[in-house]
């Protein structure tokens, strides 16, 4: 699913990611660990295609429409409601039965009551859960989660745990975190960045 050879990223003199090799089979659950500044976020953004490698090669077996990316930003419009945000992405990702699917996701992540409130009025935890809905909306083959637990409230974290457990049906997950113990039982591969 993901294969990288001496993949490296630099911004001029600054090195964002030291050369790394990857060989990830479809369906595996990869946990990326490493200190701050070791390049976890850069690696995930490279896999998502948001940034281009400076050196080395990278092949990702998922088209743009088949991968879901959750970063530090929720990537939702503050002035639109939760439903309007998900409807916008649903159209762009051509999600079949858009309305039903986004309703189900909002329900599952406990945002149904606040569905018609502006995303700007959401708390940090609710915003992260809305971002999770956006990431899972098009049922992605490859799920890229950049430290998903950091901004989540306790309830959200439990919901995410249950969600990750259910996701193992042939889907590939690559997730970076500071607390690997939490996802240790699910992990099938580990990448430690120096």
């Amino acid at each position: 699913m993901i294969s990288a050879r001496a993949l490296e990223k630099r911004y001029g003199p600054k090195r964002a990611l030291r050369p790394v090799d990857l060989d990830i089979e479809p369906g595996s659950f990869v946990v990326v660990t490493g200190a701050n500044g070791s390049g976890k976020t850069t690696l995930l953004r490279l896999v998502a295609g948001l940034v281009a490698p400076t050196k080395g090669s990278l092949e990702v077996g998922a088209e743009r429409g088949e991968l879901g990316f959750l970063g530090h930003e929720a990537l939702v419009y503050r002035d639109l409601t939760a439903v309007e945000n998900l409807d916008l992405y649903g159209r762009l990702y051509r999600v079949p039965e858009r309305r039903e699917r986004l309703g189900m996701l909002l329900e599952r992540f406990g945002l149904w009551e606040a569905r018609n409130a502006r995303a700007g009025s959401y708390s940090r935890g609710m915003l992260q859960r809305l971002a999770l809905c956006r990431t899972l909306l098009h049922d992605p083959k490859l799920l890229i989660l950049d430290e998903p637990f950091t901004a989540l409230d306790e309830e959200g974290a439990m919901l995410l745990d249950r969600q990750l457990a259910e996701l193992r049906d042939g889907r590939t997950v690559i997730l970076s975190t500071h607390e690997p113990r939490r996802v240790e039982p699910l992990a099938s591969a580990r990448v430690a960045l120096a």
Partner: protein
């Protein structure tokens, strides 16, 4: 047809954002009317009608600049541009959708500005209206792309006028020419040529402005 659907989705999103936030359109309306009033006092009594026509175009260009500076504000405040770039749609649809939305705002402002100009200064002929329409297409297409470039820079809106004004010079020439020259069709054809040439270039190159 899904390309046009994406463009429609994105344009509607911008219109809905503006209706909800209501910060760009009122600002542009007030700006253009107050600019015309300032021009009235700036023009000496004996100034002929041609000078006034020129001032109309100055007002339009700088009002457009105000709108363009806000064009990518929603994306920048929420980082949502990355969400759009991640989506499977063609990235030029992001540019086209935004251009259409900015065009709608600019048209709404001109619906007020032209009658106000006619009242303050002098009659506004069909050539001027045609010139304004054609020039606005060029302003929105090129301006939206330049605004995306400015959004990626550290200086944000400060650099947008520097990028935009040299490219707007031919539009002002075409517009003023259409308003005052004896054969306006020549100038209107030139504006059309500008729109087509630069629209194609924007359409082909926008992807590289928003992604690596």
């Amino acid at each position: 047809m899904s390309y046009l659907a994406d463009v429609g989705t994105l344009a509607r999103k911008d219109l809905r954002l503006e209706l909800r936030a209501r910060d760009t359109l009122p600002a542009m309306l007030l700006f253009v009317v107050s600019t015309l009033v300032v021009f009235h006092f700036a023009l000496p009594a004996g100034a002929d009608e041609v000078a006034a026509q020129g001032l109309l175009w100055v007002a339009l260009v700088f009002t457009a600049l105000l709108g363009l500076a806000r064009a990518w504000a929603p994306e920048r405040e929420s980082g949502a541009l990355e969400g759009l770039v991640l989506a499977p749609c063609d990235r030029s649809a992001i540019w086209l959708g935004k251009s259409i939305a900015v065009f709608v705002f600019l048209a709404a402002v001109q619906v007020v500005a032209l009658p106000a100009f006619a009242a303050f200064f002098g009659p506004v002929g069909w050539e001027t209206v045609a010139g304004v329409a054609l020039a606005s297409v060029g302003i929105c297409t090129v301006g939206t792309l330049l605004a995306a470039m400015a959004a990626a820079s550290r200086t944000r809106e400060l650099i947008l006028p520097l990028l935009f004004l040299p490219l707007a010079i031919p539009l002002v020439v075409g517009g003023v020419g259409a308003s005052i020259s004896s054969e306006p069709l020549e100038f209107l054809a030139f504006l059309g040529l500008y729109d087509i040439l630069f629209a194609i270039l924007c359409w082909a190159s926008f992807e590289y402005v928003v992604s690596e």
